[in-house]
Structures are given as structure tokens and as C-alpha cells.
């Protein structure tokens, strides 16, 4: 325990290194590319080292098994004093949840950073990119080690800011600029709820510390559950739901999921970082961190309204996004919706009371989704910035390493044993099975869809024949036809950006610094699942994260068999529809388009959610904006202008009457009088001796008269 305490006091080092690196990088010149990348990678490696040491420390603290308390060390200090006895604390925590998460974020982040050195090699703003990436990593790590909602919120917002900066990294593209705004504003809507939750928590408990030797907010959760909150929620549940709104924004849960696919506008390493290690993980991690609030008031293994809310939101998102992913053609968008769907899984697992299942899926998903995104990035680089899957195909021959790694990621995501995704997804399904059969059924359907769309993607990208050649011809034609200046420029720019010396437009394999991290990640995507299997030692991960926590018994076999079955079924369908007869031309319609008809268009257009928002919320906001502008111009400006006019009139009045007439006039008159009287008096001094003498005589005579008058009295 003492050693754990010692490690907890060093937790601040984990976010500190990348933060320091970001500070230094922000001062570097544009040419210092190697230094910038080196700083970023070096700092994150140090963080990774500290995080792994802490991870090892928490495992050591387990005493090899039979304990039922979570080993948790905290390190709080007062940050700010105010009033008589008020104070704001900042604290760091070290428990299995944090340690596992920190180790994952630093490690996956490191792999992504290394890959990014290759992906961004041609970008002129390489230095700036790594500065933002470091800051992003620092913010995320700060959030992970925070034992305090204040620090948590600061980092939470920093993550939001960095995502804004990175999604809009190529801000000269209008779509990227729009996407960055969308991501920021959408998550901000959720953050309102999060912030309200924090305020309510502070109001109720008077502290923002999560754990504080019995005085922390989470340690008072049971007390909060006794207080009535609102509607069916107790006070703890109300706070939990409010906090969950923040997670809905950050982790892209329906209905705030719209920003995530658009976030694909950023460079691919950013997509990998956002969708695997940091941003979206933040929301799920937050729910995991605040889990006592969600479960407060429940009997052993029972549910609470807050948990049900979380579960159904997650369940709906999982199915909903999975259907959309089926209808997408952009390689990154498929992955984006898949992320959405997998996040739905995690949230659903948490809502079903499976803290361990949710966190375990978060960890494994981080590895194989980072792998998939980096793989997609390699494909994009390899095919010279092509993202449309219809214009790819047959890449298996050109990019064997990428193909192999991508296959691993795909199998893991599809839930094929023994890859990591299988075990974590299985556990998610298991906890859901015990809570609600309907949710479990829907989630199983989503698992089928997952396997299906991943197979579709693999078939379109890696099998069949290379369809990219047509693209060049098309582009050329387009050029001649339109001759639009802008487009031409863009095209040139693209060419400069590619510039990895390709005369022909054949796809090519990526350099070693890009495939190496992918390969490392794929190793983890294979082996990581074994830590959470129910077979070996009764689920190591469960014992590690939450010893003594309720774990449902039974049903393992049914769930596992069914999940394998639907995975296999999805892959089979995918192979039948897309693999047997690969697409011949890029402009061929999707094989599903004909049988599904309008439904496919619906899927392709993402169920028209964006259009719905456009028509309702955005139009309403715009109308409000116009209305407020009118009010501003007519009423407020009117009042202001009247006040201004009045003030000017009054001052004019004072200028004329007060200043010019009274003050100036008064002074002038006074000066004139003084001058006149001076002239008058100076006339006495006329220099005539007799005159002086005369005055003297008269004076003497007057004095004499007075003297006599006095004498006679």
C-alpha cells in the first residue's frame, strides 16, 4: 500500500511530459521537424514508462488474489483557497482503472505518434501537428489520472479543444473547417449537462474530490441515493445522468453522435487517436470513473433508472450506427460509424452494470481500432489520398503487410475467436444478457452487422481488382471540362502532398515507420483478449479492476455460441455479397442497393439525421439568431442611440451654457475687471510730487479730525 501511495504521488508525471513537450514544440520553428517529432515521441515514451510502472505497481498490490477491496491510492493537495475555509483541491489517483487506462493511452498513443511521422511526412505543418498531438495526449492523460472533477473537467475541455484543432488541421478545406466546428459545438452541448452534473455534485456534497478517505464525492454516493432527485431518479442518479450527457457528447452516443463521422476530415493519425485512445474513450472512462454514482442505491447486481438510461442509449447507438456503417463508401467513415457502434457497446455494458466489461472492451477496442485506423491511413497513403472504397480494390497484392494487419483488426472487431474483440464483446453481451434480453438481442444483431460491414470493407478494399486507375482518367476529364481554378490548385496541392516519387499510380506499400506500429498493435489485438477470458484463471481483468464486484453467473455458453454464430454469419453474408463477385468498376452501384432500395439510400445518408438537425435545431437556432439580431438592432440599439443622443445633447448644453458662458465668461470678466482696476489704480501713480503731497495732507487732515473727534467724546 505504501508503495502504491508513492506511485500515486508520481501520477502527475504522466500528463506532465507530453504537456512540457507541447509547450516546447509550440516555440519551435516550422523547419525543426525532426526535433518536434522526437520531442513528442520521447515525452510520450517517458509517460508510457511511468504509466507502465504504475500499472505494474497496482498488479503487485493485488497480493496474488483473494482480496475484495480495490487497491486505491490517492494524492490530493489544496490548489486554491478562498473565503474563510473554502478550498479547491486537485488530486491524482492510482487504481486499476486509471493504471490500465493510462498504460493503454500512452502505449496506443505512442504507436500512433510513430505512425504519424510517416503519414504526415509531407505536410508542411508537421511541427504544429505534433505540438497539438502532444497536447491532446497530455489532456487525455490528465483526465485519466485526475482524482478531482475540477481537474477532470479542465482536461475534458482541453481534449475538446485539441480535437477541434486537430480535426480542423487542414483548415483550408471548407469541409474540415465545418467538421471542426461541428465536433466542438456538438460535444459542447453534452458538456452543458456534464457541467451541471459537476455543480449539482458540489452543491450536494461540498467537494469535487472523487476519493478523499471517506469524504470524497463518490464515497458519499450511497448517501446521495437516499435523497430524492427528479422524476424517477434519486439525487445520485440525477447527477449521474447529467454527467452522462457529457459522455454522450464525447463518446458520440445518439443523438450527439453526428460529429464523429465528420471528424474524419482530420489527418488519419488524428482519427486514430480520437477514435481509439483519447477523445471517445474519455466519455466511457468518465462513466466508469463515476460508476459508484450510477449504481448508488441498487441492490447487489440490480439496476437503477440511471443505469437503464445509459444502457438503452448505448444499445440504440450500437445498432443504429452499425446500420449506417453498412451504407458508407468512405473507408474512414465506415470505421467511424463502427467506432460509434462499439462505443454504444461499451456504454451499454456499463449501463448493464458491467463496469469491467465496458472498460475491457474500451481497452481492446482501443488497440484494434487504432490498428484499423492506422491501416486505413496506410491504404490512403498507399493509394495516393484515395478514400473512396469503390475506387480501391485488390490492394492485397500491392500492400501485403497492411493487408495482414488489417485482417487481424477486422477479425478482432468482428468478434472472431480468439482475437481480442471476441472476448471483450462476449463479456459485454453477457452482462447485457443478464440485464435485458431485448437489449442483448439488439446488440447481437449489431454484432452481426459489425461482422458484415467489416467483411464488406475488406472485400471492397483488398480483394477484387485495382479500380483506382479509372480515377485518374476521370479527374483529367473533369479538369478539362471544368477548368476551375480552385480545383486545379487543389489537385496540384494534392500532388505535392503525395510526392513520394510515384510516376505511375499503382498503389505501393508503406514505409517501415508506418507499418511497424501497426504490426505491434495487431499483436496486441490478438493476445489482449486472453486477459479477460472466462477460461483462464476466472477472468484476470475482472479480478484486477473490480475484485469483489458482482459478476453474473451462467449463460456464458449460450451467449458465446450465439455471438460466434452471428459473427460467422456476418462474415459469410459479406463474402457472399461482396466477395464472390467483386466490383468491376468504380461507378458500379453497391450490390445491396438494388434489393434494399430506398433503405440503402437511407443508410447511405445516415438516416437523414444531419438533415433532420439541419431542418429543426439549426433552423430554429438560425431563426432565433435573426430574431435576436432584430431585437438587438431595433430595441437595444434604439435605446443605446437614444442614450447616446441624450448624452451628446446634455454635454452640448453644458458646453454652451456652462462652459462657454459661465466658466469662460466668468473668467474673462474677472480678468478684465482685474486689468481695468489695475489701470485705474495705476493712474494714481502719476509721478507728480505735489499730488502725492496733496494726498498725504488730506490723509493727515482726516487723521487729525478723527483724533479730535475721539478726544471730544
Amino acid at each position: 500500500m505504501e508503495q502504491l501511495q508513492h506511485l500515486a504521488a508520481q501520477q502527475w508525471l504522466i500528463p506532465f511530459f507530453p504537456l512540457l513537450a507541447a509547450a516546447i514544440q509550440s516555440l519551435l520553428k516550422r523547419e525543426q521537424r525532426k526535433l518536434s517529432a522526437g520531442l513528442a515521441i520521447g515525452a510520450l515514451s517517458l509517460s508510457c514508462f511511468v504509466a507502465l510502472r504504475a500499472f505494474w505497481g497496482t498488479m503487485d498490490g493485488g497480493h496474488g488474489g483473494e482480496h475484495h477491496e480495490v487497491e486505491r491510492a490517492i494524492w490530493n493537495f489544496t490548489w486554491l483557497k478562498y473565503g474563510y475555509n473554502g478550498s479547491l483541491d486537485i488530486g491524482f489517483i492510482l487504481d486499476p482503472l486509471t493504471a490500465g487506462m493510462a498504460a493503454m493511452v500512452t502505449f496506443v498513443g505512442l504507436m500512433i505518434f510513430i505512425n504519424a511521422t510517416g503519414y504526415m511526412a509531407e505536410d508542411e505543418n508537421f511541427t504544429r501537428f505534433f505540438c497539438f498531438m502532444s497536447l491532446f495526449a497530455a489532456a487525455m492523460l490528465g483526465l485519466v489520472v485526475a482524482n478531482n472533477l475540477l481537474l477532470f473537467f479542465i482536461c475534458w475541455e482541453l481534449v475538446g479543444l485539441c480535437s477541434y484543432l486537430l480535426i480542423g488541421f487542414w483548415f483550408f478545406k471548407p469541409s474540415a473547417a465545418a467538421a471542426m466546428k461541428k465536433a466542438f459545438i456538438t460535444t459542447r452541448i453534452g458538456d452543458i449537462g456534464f457541467f451541471l452534473g459537476i455543480l449539482t455534485l458540489y452543491w450536494q456534497t461540498g467537494t469535487l474530490n472523487l476519493y478523499d478517505h471517506g469524504r470524497g464525492a463518490l464515497e458519499q454516493a450511497d448517501k446521495l441515493a437516499q435523497i430524492g432527485g427528479w422524476w424517477i431518479f434519486s439525487m445520485a442518479g440525477l447527477i449521474a445522468v447529467l454527467l452522462f450527457f457529457g459522455a454522450m457528447g464525447k463518446s458520440a452516443q445518439f443523438p450527439l453522435h453526428v460529429w464523429l463521422p465528420d471528424a474524419m476530415e482530420g489527418p488519419t493519425p488524428v482519427s486514430a487517436l480520437i477514435h481509439a485512445a483519447t477523445m471517445v474513450a474519455a466519455g466511457v472512462f468518465m462513466v466508469g470513473r463515476m460508476f459508484p454514482l450510477f449504481t448508488a442505491g441498487a441492490v447487489e447486481g440490480g439496476s437503477t433508472p440511471a443505469l437503464d438510461f445509459v444502457m438503452w442509449i448505448g444499445c440504440f447507438t450500437a445498432v443504429f450506427s452499425a446500420t449506417i456503417a453498412v451504407g458508407q463508401f468512405d473507408i474512414k467513415r465506415v470505421l467511424a460509424y463502427s467506432t460509434c457502434s462499439q462505443l454504444g457497446y461499451m456504454v451499454m455494458a456499463l449501463g448493464a452494470g458491467g463496469l469491467v466489461a465496458g472498460q475491457f472492451h474500451l481497452l481492446t477496442h482501443a488497440f484494434f481500432k487504432a490498428l484499423l485506423f492506422l491501416g486505413a491511413g496506410s491504404v490512403i497513403i498507399g493509394t495516393h489520398h484515395e478514400q473512396d472504397m469503390r475506387k480501391m480494390g485488390g490492394l492485397r497484392k500491392y500492400m501485403p503487410i497492411t493487408f495482414a494487419c488489417y485482417m487481424v483488426g477486422m477479425l478482432a472487431l468482428s468478434g472472431v475467436p480468439p482475437f481480442a474483440g471476441f472476448f471483450s464483446k462476449d463479456e459485454v453481451l453477457l452482462v447485457t444478457y443478464h440485464r435485458s434480453k431485448l437489449a442483448w438481442g439488439l446488440a447481437t444483431f449489431a454484432a452481426f452487422l459489425t461482422a458484415f460491414y467489416m467483411t464488406r470493407q475488406i472485400c471492397m478494399v483488398f480483394f477484387g481488382k485495382w479500380r483506382g486507375g479509372e480515377r485518374e482518367g476521370e479527374h483529367e476529364k473533369e479538369h478539362e471540362a471544368k477548368h476551375e481554378h480552385e480545383q486545379e490548385k487543389e489537385h496540384e496541392k494534392q500532388h505535392e502532398e503525395d510526392g513520394h516519387g510515384h510516376g505511375d499510380h499503382e498503389p505501393h506499400e508503406i514505409p517501415w515507420n508506418m507499418w511497424m506500429p501497426i504490426a505491434v498493435l495487431s499483436v496486441f489485438a490478438v493476445v489482449l483478449g486472453f486477459f479477460g477470458t472466462p477460461f483462464i484463471g476466472g477472468n484476470l481483468f475482472h479480478r484486477y479492476v473490480a475484485p469483489g464486484e458482482y459478476m453474473p453467473e451462467g449463460g456464458t455458453g449460450t451467449v458465446m455460441v450465439l455471438s460466434i454464430a452471428v459473427g460467422a454469419l456476418g462474415i459469410l453474408f459479406g463474402c457472399l455479397i461482396y466477395g464472390r463477385k467483386p466490383m468491376e468498376h468504380a461507378d458500379e452501384p453497391d450490390p445491396l442497393a438494388k434489393p434494399l432500395g430506398g433503405l440503402f439510400t437511407c443508410l447511405n445518408r445516415k438516416w437523414y439525421i444531419d438533415e433532420l438537425y439541419e431542418a429543426t435545431i439549426i433552423r430554429l437556432t438560425m431563426a432565433c439568431g435573426v430574431l435576436f439580431r432584430l431585437i438587438d438592432e431595433l430595441v437595444i440599439d434604439g435605446i443605446l442611440h437614444t442614450i447616446v443622443w441624450l448624452t451628446r445633447a446634455i454635454s452640448q448644453f453644458f458646453r454652451w451654457v456652462g462652459d462657454e458662458f459661465f466658466i469662460n465668461g466668468g473668467f474673462d470678466t474677472a480678468c478684465d475687471s482685474v486689468r481695468d482696476s489695475g489701470g485705474l489704480l495705476s493712474r494714481l501713480q502719476n509721478g507728480r510730487v505735489q499730488n502725492y503731497f496733496r494726498v498725504l495732507s488730506i490723509g493727515a487732515a482726516v487723521l487729525l479730525v478723527i483724533y479730535f473727534l475721539k478726544l471730544n467724546q
Binding site: S682, Q685, G687, R688
Partner: protein
């Protein structure tokens, strides 16, 4: 001793008034000087008259009178010298013309 003190004083007053009038009204500097001499003598007359009628044992008043007469003599000598100097400068002894002290 038929003449009372009052008569002397009245005479002295009349002398003083005459002198004052002369000093104030005449334009010739020499006449002004003479008028001032008259006023002097009115004062000396007063001194002697008081001494005579009050019978102060000492000779103080007489001494004062003699001093005053001698000083007046000296003064008129200085005054005449000044007048001559003025005349050399202005070619006139008209007191009205001497107004360079004007403010």
C-alpha cells in the same frame, strides 16, 4: 503777558496753512521750497510758544528750535542745489513737468 498762547498757535496754524497752500498749488519749484520753509517756521513757532507758556525749566525747546533752524538752512541749501540740478536737466523748474516717477 497779554498775548495768550492760543494766538500764537493760531498764528502758527495760519502760517502752516499758508505754507501748505503754497507747497501744494505753486508750480515753481523754488516757491514750493519757500512754502515748505514757511511750514517749518510754523512748527518752530509752536515749539517756542509752548516752551514759553509752559515754562519748562530746561532749554530743550530752544535747543530744538536752533537745531531745526540750522537743519532747515541746510535742507534749503540741498533743496536749492537740487532745483538747480533739475533746472539743468529739464530747462525748467516747473514741478508739473517732473513726472518720471509716474506708474
Amino acid at each position: 503777558m497779554s498775548i495768550p498762547l492760543g494766538h500764537y498757535l493760531i498764528l502758527s496754524g495760519i502760517l502752516f496753512a499758508i505754507g501748505l497752500c503754497g507747497a501744494l498749488t505753486r508750480k515753481n519749484a523754488i516757491i514750493v521750497l519757500i512754502a515748505i520753509e514757511v511750514m517749518f517756521n510754523a512748527g518752530i513757532l509752536n515749539l517756542i510758544a509752548f516752551w514759553h507758556y509752559k515754562q519748562f525749566a530746561a532749554l530743550t525747546a530752544q535747543m530744538f528750535a536752533i537745531f531745526a533752524i540750522s537743519i532747515a538752512a541746510a535742507e534749503s541749501a540741498v533743496g536749492l542745489a537740487l532745483v538747480i540740478a533739475i533746472y539743468r536737466h529739464y530747462r525748467s523748474v516747473d514741478v508739473d513737468e517732473m513726472k518720471s516717477l509716474k506708474g
